[in-house]
Symmetry: C2
Subunit: 334 residues, 2 copies
Amino acid sequence: MKLASISYKGTDCIAVAIDDEHVINIKDAMIAAFGSDAEIPVDMNHLLQQGQTGITKLSSALDFALANPTAVMHIPIADVSWHAPVRKPGKICGVAMNNSASNSRKISAPDHPAFFLKPASCLIGHEEAITIRSYYGSVHPEPELAIVIGTTMRDVDAANAMEYIAGYSVMNDITGNGMRAEDLFQYWAIYADEDDPDKTRRVEQHLSYAARYKGTDTFGVLGPWLVTRDEINDPDDLSVECKVGGEVVAEDSTRYYNYKVAELISFISQFHTLHPGDIVSCGTAFKASANRKSIHNANFQQVSGPVSVTIEGLGTQENPVVVENRTIGKWRLS
Amino acid sequence: MKLASISYKGTDCIAVAIDDEHVINIKDAMIAAFGSDAEIPVDMNHLLQQGQTGITKLSSALDFALANPTAVMHIPIADVSWHAPVRKPGKICGVAMNNSASNSRKISAPDHPAFFLKPASCLIGHEEAITIRSYYGSVHPEPELAIVIGTTMRDVDAANAMEYIAGYSVMNDITGNGMRAEDLFQYWAIYADEDDPDKTRRVEQHLSYAARYKGTDTFGVLGPWLVTRDEINDPDDLSVECKVGGEVVAEDSTRYYNYKVAELISFISQFHTLHPGDIVSCGTAFKASANRKSIHNANFQQVSGPVSVTIEGLGTQENPVVVENRTIGKWRLS
């Protein structure tokens, strides 16, 4: 199934696609199929918390609606407005430098996945505006495969990890590399002495902090669809394309991720419990396009949108880029 | 008011302190004061979303309960179990290196606050176990003042920021500096050329990723109380103490933060919209104690808990530290 969180005529609902041009409100379908006492999820998080039971029930309601085409109102996709499919995920983990195209640029790097967090407050949906301010500095798109967790997972081996996935979506992990360059520290870290914990030792360390450059408002475009896992044969072999202002800036595939989908969520689950609705964004697919453009050329302070990301089997998201005209030129502390 | 999210006899509720040894369930108080059709918040997030109206109403219910001591059941604090006061904040922003004691260790650093995110999934409450595994490497406590946002804020000047605060709490921002040292990258970053966006330039950059070392399960202790803003005269002048295994390892004050409470949330609001229930943890208060112990000596792989944090006016949290005995010695990718 292709699920979405939409607004239609002012009402928010979960929708499911019935063909390329129409969705139905799952509330309508479930009432038609099961009667008015059907337990209808209020939002996508709620649906995901119902687990496989909720998905199976929804699938039956969809079958009913397809078999009875006049029983449930068909909503034209052209008339809906889109939210992120999961509007308030408990967490969004973003995997860093997971594309094999970045390997040659690594001078030193860990031998395991590294990840950061994006806040739910940065999420927008398909067709919503990405909003940039001058004081953000350079900002560029990062097209990524997003995993949506379906079942609470902790310490799950990679061999068993796939069954914890509800489905997949498209993430544009908007990145302010101007702010990235501003939030760097070089300092003397203090560690306990390994032999004598009463003593400490100083270690020169470079640290950087990702909350601004990865989490600023509108820096996460998710959707349009949450495509359930059964529809994607191999998430580790999907083509990815990103366009800015109509020009292709990345032509890539999830097959070039260093770590596979199952490895990523297995690894994270050995530190963080992953809950239904949590998102793991697998890292940027940024191989340069045939015309030699790259996402790094697509600084939204210089080039105009819209920006689109397409992943094979998951659909296309497209968003305008708005450069806000603000009287203040810089953030302030007073 | 001192608010808490607790369980008592198997039922979760929001509680409010009526004296040093007792709380009441706000549901009981509101029904006693306003009748059974009172709109009772289901959890702390819900209460905070009601804004000042909700707080004022709760305050009236508390006054009623204090004036009518037999009208509402008094629950002994000794009999409750504690959750984080806000169990699922939309986001938790942690401010980096905000203590003036760290300034002399900075070789280079930004001239503004830098911050990272912790996931809601890492939160535990007062008296819950901090759980450490051998493959986490060294892990230490970081005692911090936590701000709880009460009103949605975006682009709020520091001069007006305080009124957006619902209250304060105590955060132990548990930090795995072993993992911190493992999640470092040195690499050639690519930026768009400022003069010719068709060109790019390479910049050597050190990046680090905080999700593991700041966000692993049980790495955030919040509480016991959410103390409403009206009870704290000056959040920028509160003493902070941290003990590990009964020994003082930090004696500090929020007056030594580089950036004040109002400056921090104003700054963040110029990038991230802050929502009711969001947490901003102000940075570690880690000045060494008179006995020359520091939090950096308190590696939980070497020293035993419990760990406690006390902030003037906000109370004391104390948590056991459990080193898990696991058959696997290291995380795995297969």
